[in-house]
Symmetry: C2
DNA sequence: CGCGATTTGTGCACGCCTTCACAAGCGCCT
DNA sequence: AGGCGCTTGTGAAGGCGTGCACAAATCGCG
């Protein structure tokens, strides 16, 4: 029921890929489904329809069904999806059956918060070590873990079999930290520093930039404001450009 | 030079939209360009080529040029882009010419960190007020701001003309907070709580979920591991599914 | 003043993702 | 046992985003 190779497919049976190369967009949504499913399970639901799960996850139901079908879904027509089954399935695909060890580098403002964030622990991860370059911070204890100096990374990485690194340092330090993480074999990095990291092929980097999120919101805010301000006469906002941008005026520009 | 409506477009001249409806993907990248430009400006560059800016922002140059062209770019062929000009232009488009007031709700672990994060201040925002529902936290001072009770939101929102709300509460409280924010006229919300918010049309919500980012990395980690583990014989990983998923075996499944 | 080097702006084609719409399948009720 | 209603899984179409490749434009130099 999991592999649908068109029923009459020719020979070569059993050649089912272990991890069926999910579309990136699907992968990004699976965690959301997983969270919604956990909620449903807690509130006693044993099964859920695509419609129900979709609305709990904030997506449309067709998309959800297609996503689940990619991993060889476990739904029953006329009934829906078995919640427990789906949880197991998604957790397996996401590699959450083993609790991965995470190293957090940089215990400043944000690092402190991340170290104490229980969402990590409750969703399949274990913060295994904290690092910082600042000697004043080394030795400090944060939610049961002692901050180590970054130079200890190689030793600790092996001991704890670190798989994922989280960078919460200031931007100038981030690239060096990334290099160190890569050097000890880390192949997945979550970067909170506002800068671009360059890493060798095969290493995945995801970036979270809080200010960028706000700036995107700001854009829409700006847009909404300018739309309500001039519902009829478009264009005057351009004239409000900071001095020097001077595009002259639309007429002339069209003449060009 | 900013509006390109096919040069010979019929009548209705001057109907140039103030904010030219940028593709969402472009909007999401503009802040990154902006950050890179600020770096370049600080290091003394007056102009930059698309190639240079693109690599500083971690994208490819064709994409960068297309993005900039959408906002009626200010490049000079054979030379490049004027850094200062582009900064002004992007900041204008993103609505960063006015420093927007942000209300932060929930000063727990993460909220504390966000309140102290200087990246907000340095990139066009002003944290104008902190709120919490817990009476024990009300009155506490964090980086120069006093935590207020959430019930004061309506009054403060007006006083400070809050435009953007940041939710850093536990998941169960998030929807109620969102409702309150919407009620006082906030139309942009950045949500750190791991849950789906439902808001009226016209309100923008962006979600940042730290655990989800890790889970996405985990997927790729899992994938990389399973690929190196079984380069030839695909399929055995499915057999490793947690008990109960029992798809029996491919042969039988095909028979169905 | 013209030419070549350089770099932007963009037409085009391709691929991914989303969405619609519906046939196939399943359980329940009569 | 049969039919009916409900829900999944998926084919097909459309839209969006990406990247290539090149024409147009500008500068500097001889």
């Amino acid at each position: 029921m999991s592999q649908h190779r068109h029923p009459g497919a020719p020979g070569r049976a059993g050649a089912v890929p272990a991890l069926p190369d999910l579309p990136e967009a699907t992968v990004a949504r699976l965690p959301e489904y997983l969270r919604a499913l956990h909620n449903l399970a807690e509130s006693g639901h044993e099964t859920v329809s695509s419609e129900g799960l979709a609305s709990a996850a904030g997506v449309n139901s067709a998309k959800l069904r297609k996503d689940l079908s990619h991993l060889g879904s476990y739904g029953t027509r006329g009934v829906g999806y078995d919640v427990a089954l789906l949880v197991d399935q998604i957790e397996f695909v996401l590699g959450l059956t083993q609790r991965r060890a995470v190293a957090l580098v940089g215990v400043g403002n944000l690092g402190h918060a991340l170290a104490g964030y229980d969402g990590f622990a409750s969703r399949g991860f274990r913060i295994a070590a904290l690092f910082d370059a600042d000697p004043d911070r080394v030795g400090e204890e944060i939610s049961g873990l002692v901050v180590r100096h970054i130079d200890e990374l190689p030793r600790v990485a092996v001991e704890e079999s670190i798989a994922i690194g989280v960078i919460a340092t200031p931007a100038p330090a981030a690239q060096a930290v990334a290099d160190q993480l890569v050097a000890v074999g880390v192949t997945s990095i979550l970067n909170f520093a506002p800068c671009v990291l360059s890493v060798p092929e095969g290493v995945d980097v995801r970036k979270v930039d809080l200010a960028i999120e706000l700036q995107i919101l700001s854009f829409h805010e700006h847009r909404k404001a300018s739309l309500t301000a001039l519902p009829a006469t478009g264009g005057s906002a351009l004239a409000a450009l900071p001095g020097g941008l001077a595009v002259t005026d639309p007429q002339e520009a069209i003449g060009t």
